[in-house]
Symmetry: D2
Subunit: 337 residues, 4 copies
């Protein structure tokens, strides 16, 4: 039996070239960079990887490139959800050939399906897949997978884990309590890095989260510190990661804030496939200035030439700046300036 899937797995983004196509060289360089900074695995075609904005052929090519470039140095967990069971199984077959360790299948989306449908869907895939399958629960975007359904699905040998992006610790505990006693090999991965350390403490096996594509050193360090039970240090980093995470997540529609951050780490990500309005482009530039300072604080990038605000700035000055910025943008946005 293959080893249990554990550690930090990066649902990486895909650099695009000037024509909006996959930028293969940059993707390969990004894969090497992530591996060099300690991630335990790569997760192409995840939500952060915007699987939904690529074509079937592009999704295949992304996995192929990543498997080739990883070349066995780290495992590959390949997002394989396609239009229907038949297409998804075909992707599973391809990804098995490319050398992926397992596939990750997001629960059916667009339609919100009930537990019976979710069960039937995963069951049919698992019975036909030549490669191990992990479930992917992300209730804010896709049909929720509840604990009884996970229990039923864990009876199928091909299903070896779940990635849960709900961020709900009690839900993670309920899953672990229900399944670990009967399936010790089953892997529980959190997709909500805002609480990565607490999730590891209650027994999660790892994390697969967008932030690890921005600061892989940091999330790897948090994983190792928690494993070594150096909680004071781990929690300190968790608080700093939360600040960075919130800035990336709440300042732009997901995952644009993460794309802006990966650029700061030195990768040419290209214009995203979801177009940005003029107002959003202004927002994005402002966000990058904030992110540059946060990343400089970790020592990962150089601070901007104009310097960064003190960590706890004079409140009034900050407010005036913020308001002036909002006004200018609002005026621009409404076409007045």
């Amino acid at each position: 039996m293959a080893a249990k899937i554990t550690g930090i797995l990066t649902p990486h983004m895909v650099p695009l070239d000037a024509n909006g196509r996959i930028h293969e060289a940059e993707l390969r360089r990004y894969v090497d960079w992530l591996i060099a900074r300690g991630v335990h695995g790569l997760y192409p075609n995840g939500s952060t990887g915007e699987f939904i904005r690529f074509t079937v052929e592009e999704r295949r090519r992304i996995v192929k490139i990543v498997c080739e470039q990883a070349a066995g140095r780290v495992l590959v967990l390949a997002g394989a959800a396609e239009a229907n069971v038949r297409e998804t199984v075909a992707a599973c077959e391809a990804y098995a050939d490319y050398g992926a360790r397992a596939v990750a299948i997001v629960s059916p989306f667009y339609f919100r399906l009930g537990p019976e449908s979710v069960y039937a869907y995963f069951r049919e895939i698992a019975l036909a897949s030549p490669i191990d399958v992990t479930l992917y629960n992300i209730p804010m975007f896709a049909s929720p997978i509840d604990v009884p359904t996970i229990q039923r699905l864990a009876e199928l040998e091909r299903i070896v884990g779940i990635k849960d992006s709900s961020g709900d610790l009690a839900f993670m505990m309920r899953m672990i309590a229900a399944i670990r006693p009967v399936r010790p090999d089953f892997s529980f991965l959190t997709g909500w890095e805002a609480v990565l350390v607490p999730m590891l403490l209650i027994g999660a096996d790892g994390g697969t989260h967008a932030t690890s594509g921005v600061v892989p050193e940091l999330t790897r360090m948090m994983f190792d510190l928690t494993g070594a039970r150096d909680l004071d240090q781990a929690m300190k980093l968790q608080y700093r990661l939360l600040e960075l995470f919130d800035a990336m997540l709440y300042s732009a529609d997901f995952p644009e804030g993460f794309r802006a951050a990966v650029e700061l780490r030195g990768f040419a990500m290209g214009r995203g496939r979801q177009p940005l309005s003029a107002a959003q482009q202004v927002d994005r530039e402002r966000l990058q200035r904030v992110l540059r300072c946060l990343l400089a604080d970790f020592g990962y990038v150089d601070p901007p030439p104009e310097g960064c605000p003190p960590r706890r700035p004079d409140a009034k000055a900050a407010q005036v700046n913020e308001i002036v910025g909002e006004v200018v943008e609002a005026l621009r946005h409404k076409g007045v300036l």
Copy 2:
């Protein structure tokens, strides 16, 4: 300028053959049948048409078949959303070639995007599309389109209408109040047939809804009666349609209940692409018995040989039957029987 889009447009389902492929002959027969029963237009690749469960190539083929078969007798509004703007525009070009009147583009789904992103997305498509575009707002499945965003988008000539499936009358009124004075040609279509007649009364131009694929005669009649201001009759039918609609919508994960109903009208729909569990198959058979009686009540199909329960059945007997049904299924479902 092309005529405003009005009337009953059917977001029809797609019959599948024994291999799970598009059953072209049956689809053509279904198109003819719908046209013969009075629908004003056809809407391939809608939600009811499960666009998301077909491949890109299949979606093209469905529109091609429908345009050919309609042959100008009724208009075709083709669902054209693909993985990204570029792919969507390519679909728009193809559907223009096939002779569609316009395309319908669902708001970005999976990710929940904010108004600026929704605006930027539709704007980029509208500027590149060679064919008129209608927006498709279905907030339970996709990013919501709010009134200010619709107003901004209505400034683009290519955008000629919106289909709204929220079922919220006040929202429909807000849209009409904001846009009709400046764009009298803009079409407002409701996707929530539960309130079709009230929507028409407040000024909606038509409906594009799943039930019209099951009882096209009925929804056409409701449209005509409302237009003729025969409200007593229109409302009576609205109440009867609601009963049918609720049965189809709430007894199975959408749109399986509608598939079960279309079969009763005489079409071989095939096994759907979303697999059903054993328990769901039992449910589906029970649902079909209920639907057969509802449709027989309209005179659209023959009642089952065993007859139908009285419209207001003896309560206690119904309860016992229902409970016994639930028990047997629950036992089966849990593998006890």
Copy 3:
């Protein structure tokens, strides 16, 4: 048997004096004014009447004043929900003494209870109440009452109606379809005036809604026009009411926008019991300017000395004004100005 409850019932607000106490004289004057403008009934201690912000003793006094002042000219439907069943029944007894036609009991709030609890709660009250009871369903604030529960409760003779504030037409139709055949005397009242005319068209018996406390003439006219099947006129008014309603509902936390509007009709409402921040007070003044123009448009009040903007103002000028207004307030709010 008492007559079925129908028509426009006003969940009126309560004027307060300079000490924040009930302003009895002004309340009596307001009651007379509402009756003179044609409302069919008064509904003290509704949500709009902020029942929750008064003490038990005050709630009693409000109903007493209203019953006395109405003096049989119109019916009184008295909000009677208290801390628990025993206290609620005591209120029912008092309101029966005061001469109310019936009480309205909101579904249990704070805790979100399931259908069984909702049923048990209303059942116990209905069995002990000496006065007819109407259910009050307002799912955004209180435990929802679903159709099966309403059906069960409609078996109790004491329960004679429901006020539903969900604004969901299909839900109203489901209730009517389930209950009217067996309880023709059961009254269905909508609390969502945004869709008052459509609700009446599908068979609702009346409306009990905040706006009728601001423009009682208008809502009464809409009721009469719909009854007379003058739909063109009724719908025109419905659109105009919607604009007014949206301004009152979405420009301040409910029901402060309605209080601001009642003041414009000439009543001294006093400072509300929910305190306003400095920024909110500025917002309120701005709202009143907007409302004054909307009400002047109906001819109900004089326009402000400075005049009103044209109904479809030059967009750019409006935007600049709006933005400048927002900026000044934001600066004030943050203590910068």
Copy 4:
């Protein structure tokens, strides 16, 4: 300055006598029992204490009894929310007289208010209160208090802490990050015991949660083990508490499951003020059998004479029992049996 509020504070229930009145003797006995089992404080008139189902006078009496009985042995945090600011301040004054350490004020409920209103409400109370105030955030029942609002309120000296029942760890971290640097005395308490240990690990000061009224020894032990950084043991208990918590929370409308559990610890709780339907009474008996076994497993009570099922029972037998139980209840519920 008074000491920071920390530790396990119990939002205890209130025993009722045969007439449904406060059972003072039993309440005093319960207070002694809780103190003897190690809780750091008592929290009368919390959500678990069903403050909303008591009258103003009863709420006063409950706090008076608890303060008297605690007699300084542990602190009292008294729930003081009344109908409006004036009434709430009067309660604060009374509770200061009784000797409470502080009051807890739930955010405005019924109406869902925005941040400005929430701010204005708490500010006005804090400025008038003679006793320290803690905020109480429970977004599932009351208007949410967001981080910027908490920051603004933390500028007021009288406000000394917050109880948050959202269960969201990242939210707790955001509050702590924003406020602790400037107000080290500000107390952060979690109301979501499902994740008590993780909350303490990220820096929360304590917990005030319903389960501590059922198994005070256990939650105290979890607090102490976490403080001593004996995480293995603390987490083991957290998993066991979760099982108990889920049973109490999800098997009945809150807080009836907790009442059923406190009875098992030897207190005569009386019939609750929210009536139970016949079906709910059957459910409650079944729940008590489950809870008895869970509590017996901890050694807190004796197992039932008939014994308990093995912790991981034979699945099929359990299912049959469960189904049979459901059937019988459903039949009873529908009046068939």
